[in-house]
């Protein structure tokens, strides 16, 4: 035990750059103090989204317990969150070689989703569903795949409904179900679903941003700009640094002829994401409505330039 603590101390001093050479037997891994310490550190770094530190912790665990899934599991999570998706898939496969686990299957499904690999994705979803059939996340991810890669709105909606039947507070599933309904021209049903989701929340917090964003878009389509503006303002108050939220506010304010609000929101959008053509087009309309012809022309020129970058010259 002392030896392991000494190793940990060395690691701390060396900034976690040294890896212990001596591996523990699998049984010892489950009751070892050093492993427990690393695991408790893992909880902190995951909660804080510090993925590089998670990678280090995962590597330490794979060296301490090479025959256990622990290290590979967390290393896989770290790679996945760092955007090293191929490495994540390989590492999570290693984790599953040591232990069949629903979480690892679901993470692996996410990796294959990101890599667009249909067959492997569904294999992992089936495995996760078999091991943990009550977990809403499994159904949500399946629906998201059908929605995003196959435009299969009816089937995707079925998966999202299953996710909500397991967990009625699963907000992403609710939002994507609303998107499916919208794609099927069931706008009122989509709106009801989103409003119900917001009502279920104990407080208006970051969880509300997604449904609010969708409501803004729906209400603009339903020609109810006043409702859209109200929801857009709430969303922007909760997430002022999200470009799409500011863009929604800009659109809703423009529809209500609230030009100062529209201008501020669209300028915020272009500052947060300078490569979105639509923001410059809307900004040019706001400037023109305010009589600022020169700024309107500049914004329109930026719009045309970006549109050409995205879609080619007409």
């Amino acid at each position: 035990m002392f030896f392991l603590r000494a190793i940990l101390a060395c690691l701390l001093i060396a900034g976690w750059s040294i890896l212990p050479a001596q591996a523990l037997p699998v049984d010892a891994c489950h009751s070892n103090a050093a492993v427990s310490q690393i695991e408790s550190r893992i909880q902190q770094v995951v909660a804080a989204s510090r993925w590089l530190e998670l990678q280090t912790a995962g590597l330490e665990l794979t060296h301490l317990c090479p025959n256990s899934d622990f290290g590979y599991h967390w290393l896989g999570v770290a790679y996945l969150r760092e955007g090293r998706t191929f490495a994540a898939a390989r590492t999570l496969e290693q984790s599953l070689q040591h232990r069949d686990d629903a979480g690892a299957h679901l993470l692996l499904a996410e990796a294959y989703f990101k890599l667009g690999q249909k067959k492997f994705f569904w294999e992992e979803i089936e495995a996760a569903q078999r091991l943990l059939p009550e977990e809403a996340g499994v159904y949500y991810l399946a629906g998201l795949f059908r929605y995003q890669t196959e435009d299969a709105f009816g089937d995707a909606a079925m998966w999202f409904r299953q996710a909500l039947s397991k967990n009625a507070n699963h907000m992403p599933a609710r939002c994507y179900l609303a998107l499916c309904l919208r794609a099927q021209q069931k706008n009122e049903d989509a709106e009801t679903l989103l409003l119900e989701g917001i009502r279920k929340l104990p407080t208006m917090d970051s969880q509300s941003v997604m449904p609010l964003q969708l409501l803004v878009s729906l209400e603009l389509d339903l020609d109810r700009p006043a409702d859209a503006l109200e929801h857009a303002k709430t969303a922007a108050r909760l997430a002022p640094k999200v470009a799409k939220v500011q863009l929604g506010l800009g659109k809703a304010a423009l529809a209500m002829h609230d030009l100062p609000t529209a201008r501020a929101a669209l300028l915020a959008t272009t500052a947060l994401e300078p490569d979105v053509p639509e923001s410059f087009y809307l900004l040019s309309r706001v400037y023109a409505a305010q009589g600022d012809q020169r700024s309107a022309e500049q914004a329109l020129a930026s719009f045309k330039q970006l549109r050409e970058q995205y879609h080619g010259a007409n």
Binding site: F86, R90, E93, E110, L115, G116, Q117, E135, T149, Q213
Partner: protein, 180 residues
Amino acid sequence: MARIRTFSIVLSIGLSQLTAQTIVQRSGKSVPQANTREELNAFGLVLEAGSPGATLEAASRYRKRFPKSEFFEYACVAEMQAAMDLAKYSIAEDAADTVLKINSANPEALLTLAEVILATHPEKAPPERAGQYAQSALDKLRVWPAPAFSDTATWLNTKRSMEARARRVLAQAGPKTTAQ
């Protein structure tokens, strides 16, 4: 119990990352599909090789093992770029030719051929030919679609970088080469 807790952490932090605070619009595009996980892992090793030399080795192995892979073109592109980094122009040229046989609209391969000609002139071909390849790359880039499962900002940066490279080649190749 510990594993369930772990699972919950991953779910709460993990899956929300797919959506963050924004809605990801459906792409409606297809991506190459691997036949086996082994094939996919081998392709991952090509992309994640730590140095141009390692990329060349991994790509060469991949091409031999999976000649019918849907990722074959992309492995050749990685090989071509690594060869250019190492100034191994004949390997880069061979890889570019292979890529263009699969996909004649691949702008990276056209640009590589242009850059190879400039780098090896006068042994290879007159600089006018480089200008023609660069112009062709620019034409393809103009209608180059954003790939599925890639963030738009990265795609736009890549496109701009390739356009800048094409213009550099055109400037070096001379004024006579621009019309094609």
